[in-house]
Amino acid sequence: MPAVAETLDTVQSVTEGTYKWGFSTDIEMDFAPKGLNEDIVRFISAKKNEPQWLLDWRLKAYATWLKMDEPTWPSVKYPKIDFQDAYYYAAPKVKSGPKSLDEVDPELLKTYAKLGIPLKEQAILAGVEGAGDSPSEGGRMPIAVDAVFDSVSVATSYKARLAKDGIIFCAISEAVHEYPELVRQYLGSVVPQGDNYYAALNSAVFTDGSFVYIPKGVRCPMELSTYFRINAKSTGQFERTLIIADEGAVVSYLEGCTAPMRDENQLHAAVVELVAMDDAQIKYSTVQNWYPGDAEGRGGIYNFVTKRAQCRGARSKVSWTQVETGSAITWKYPSCVLLGDDSVGEFYSVAITNNHQQADTGTKMIHVGKRTTSTIVSKGISAGKGQNTYRGLVRVAPSASGARNHTQCDSLLIGDQCGAHTVPYIENRNMTAKVEHEATTSRIAEDQLFYCRQRGLSEEDAVGLIVNGFCREVLKELPMEFAVEAQKLLQISLEGSVG
């Protein structure tokens, strides 16, 4: 079979499959009117053909949200969000996008070129009108569309492999219909509807996200990735992800991608819930590089995310790794509730803020079970006018005998207009627990720069090298697929911050 025909077949099967999986339903673009009220919540639920219990669950969340106040404690500044001035369901996708690549911010295109992204894919990522919408053009398939669709087709073939082991990996809206007992049992069990303002909002209006269930004793044979499951364009504004690793199960999940993505939805309020039973292990890696706004701080995504894991079983382990380089504002605290005896929580984070970016991120480690251990390694890099805050909590309950925590958080300052802040909370109620915290703040030393420059490295390469060294402890936790790209990304994110 000639290659072209094969591709066409694949695309065919994928597009048909798309409807079946409900990944991007409603291509005919019917959308709810602007604003948020009970009817919109009902509309979303009805569109997704959801069972009554889920509608009730959403309505309860909405009622709770109405009674809550927008939190103001993080050290981030942004204009007040008008929640009535947004679409909550299938907002018109390309209307306001650039008409062609010529209209896209040239800085963004430079970045794409450096990451080695093909032209057509650049257009899709930059949200150019029409890019990626047309599967065929005079019978010929555009290459980049192929590339993206290829990802999906990769997913299809993988899906069969996963099914063989009894692993469920699908959209959460699909899981609601296919595995209602599982969803009903676990949805909101880690992050309840009323947990916080944005979690409540998400619970009321979430539209997409992943659902993963790894059965007892199964080691997931591949890394699961959102990038492969849904094409980049339809990452939801209110994503809801639920991952359950049953006894002895092992899974590694990747979220995001390194390419900067343009997105018309300024507010992103995702919720991620992880559940690990006895001896289960979940590794959750994120590379977040949404549009950070331009050099003057205009535009850019608000990324207000609630991520939490419950280590319910004995000897279970959850590891969060994040590389946060994008978004105008990043505000998230991937956390672990260590309930099972001997359970383990880990948090490895790199957060970069350049230009006018703001990041308030960290973790919470709640020790409840005996001999629970947690490790926190956080690296914050501030450049330009960026503000970077580490905010973390380590709490040891009276029951957590022999608990152990070590926290290391380091900040690197590049330039005298930026800020680096550290706000750790340590609460210990068990005398046998041992908690250690250390934090340092420094800048790139002149002698390090001089050493690199003397050996012929440009200033930017030298900074890149030093920053990668500074972040090494975190980067080595990333799965192979991400690690190389992430290193490149760090360097690109800091461009223009020196010299």
Partner: protein, 429 residues
């Protein structure tokens, strides 16, 4: 007066209304204005609740639920005062300066009671305190009756001064709010050893506010031994401003009281200013002690060092909150902070929040925090050498504290601290 009006913020405001005409400075418009502004602030803020971030770990309800009388009306006796630590001692009983009990001698600088010096203090009193931001400072400003006023002239080595505060143990719970003003002019030096004590069986509130000015090249050493009575509340706030090349050296030992807050605000305002803030908290039974420090690096080339140690037994609860704020101008700042806690009992709790807020890039700032129990290996080592368990424990606790106290250079201060520490440690049954 019924209980509802006697307690809480309302109770204090009510008594302020009643005492207005009798508080010092009634005929001085500037004092009146300070008090009225503070009252307005306290009326709207009330006692801080745990919803206020700076009070997240300390619940003031025991204070606000209790009813007090201002000391003004119930001045007690000061019969049995312990022996002075040094030649010069200023004695305060229930927040009021007792010249009769003090030994001031003649020196190159004056030590006075605030009430009698009030006419000369316009512009100085209230120059550093921020009642608009701290409700307890507003409470102090509204009701202060007296305090210590010290001015060490330029170039004078002031030597040692003891500031001894006693609660008299009246039957009616007293509240007193002294305001202490300490000023060191350029190149001057002074060591203040401060003690606070009271009877074990009486409930009282001691709410002192310090305004400390350290001019260019001056050095103030301020050692505080807090051994208030077991039912007492001490809520103290210190404001210190250090000019170029000056040094403020503070050591606070919290050993007494039922509920204690030790809040210190230091501003390093001139280049090459230095601040040491160290301390220890020794807690048992149901004691609650909170040390909260704010260190403002507002000028370049300044250095700060902080080491705080907390030992907790019984059902005690210890809090440490320390914030280092480095302003954009404060290049080449060198800041270090360490806080460590030792838990001796399964019912004790420690909460710690060290905090860095940095806006300058050429800085070296670090903080560390550790929490743990006595090291089993160290204990085993001592036991293997025939030392009884309780003695071994005691040795290890003393060693833990020694690290903080060793740094105190002044011999009198160190002796006072060591006496308080050895008195505190009685091996548990």
């Amino acid at each position: 007066m019924n209980a509802a009006v006697n307690s809480g913020a309302e109770g204090f405001l009510h008594r302020f209304d009643g005492l207005r005409a009798r508080l010092p400075g009634t005929r001085m418009p500037w004092v009146q204005a300070l008090r009225e502004d503070a009252a307005t602030r306290f009326r709207s803020a009330g006692f801080p609740t745990r919803r206020v971030e700076a009070w997240k770990y300390t619940d003031l309800r025991p204070v606000s639920d209790a009813g007090f009388d201002e000391a003004l009306s119930i001045l007690g006796d000061s019969a049995d005062l312990p022996a002075p630590l040094c030649d010069r001692r200023a004695v305060f009983v229930d927040g009021r300066f007792r010249e009769d009990a003090s030994t001031l001698g003649s020196a190159e600088f004056a030590v006075d009671g605030l009430a009698q010096r009030l006419p000369q203090l316009e512009g100085r009193l209230g120059s550093l305190a921020r009642p608009q931001e701290e409700p307890l400072v507003a409470l102090n400003t509204m009701l202060f009756e007296d305090g210590l006023v010290v001015t060490v002239p330029a170039g004078v080595a002031g030597g040692l001064l003891e500031l001894a505060s006693f609660a008299s143990g009246s039957e009616r719970p007293a509240a007193f709010h002294p305001r202490h003003l300490i000023r060191l002019e350029a190149g001057a030096s002074l060591t203040i050893v401060e003690s606070a004590r009271g009877p074990a069986e009486t409930r009282y509130l001691h709410n002192p506010v310090f305004e400390i000015e350290v001019a260019e090249g001056a050095t103030l050493t301020h050692t505080r031994v807090q051994q208030e009575g077991a039912k007492a509340f001490q809520l103290g706030t210190i404001y210190a401003r250090v000019e170029a090349g000056g040094t403020y050296d503070n050591f606070t030992l919290n050993a007494g009281g039922r509920l204690v807050r030790n809040e210190i605000h230091v501003t390093l305002a001139g280049p090459r200013a230095t601040c040491h803030m160290n301390g220890a908290q020794l807690l048992r039974h149901g004691q609650h002690a909170d040390t909260t420090t704010f260190l403002d690096h507002a000028a370049p080339d300044c250095a700060s060092r902080q080491t705080y140690k907390t030992v907790l037994s019984g059902k005690s609860r210890g809090v440490f909150q320390g914030k280092i704020h480095v302003h954009q101008v404060a290049q080449r700042t060198d800041g270090y902070q360490m806080n460590q806690a030792l838990l001796l009992s399964p019912d004790a709790e420690i909460d710690s929040k060290p905090q860095l807020e940095i806006y300058a890039d050429d800085v070296k700032c670090s903080h560390g925090a550790t929490v743990g129990a006595l090291d089993a290996e160290q204990l085993f080592y001592l036991r293997a050498r025939g030392i009884p368990e309780e003695a071994a424990r005691s040795m290890l606790v003393q060693a833990f504290l020694a690290e903080a106290i060793e740094g105190v250079a002044d011999a009198t201060s160190r002796a006072a601290l060591e006496a308080a520490v050895s008195g505190w440690w009685e091996p548990a049954a």
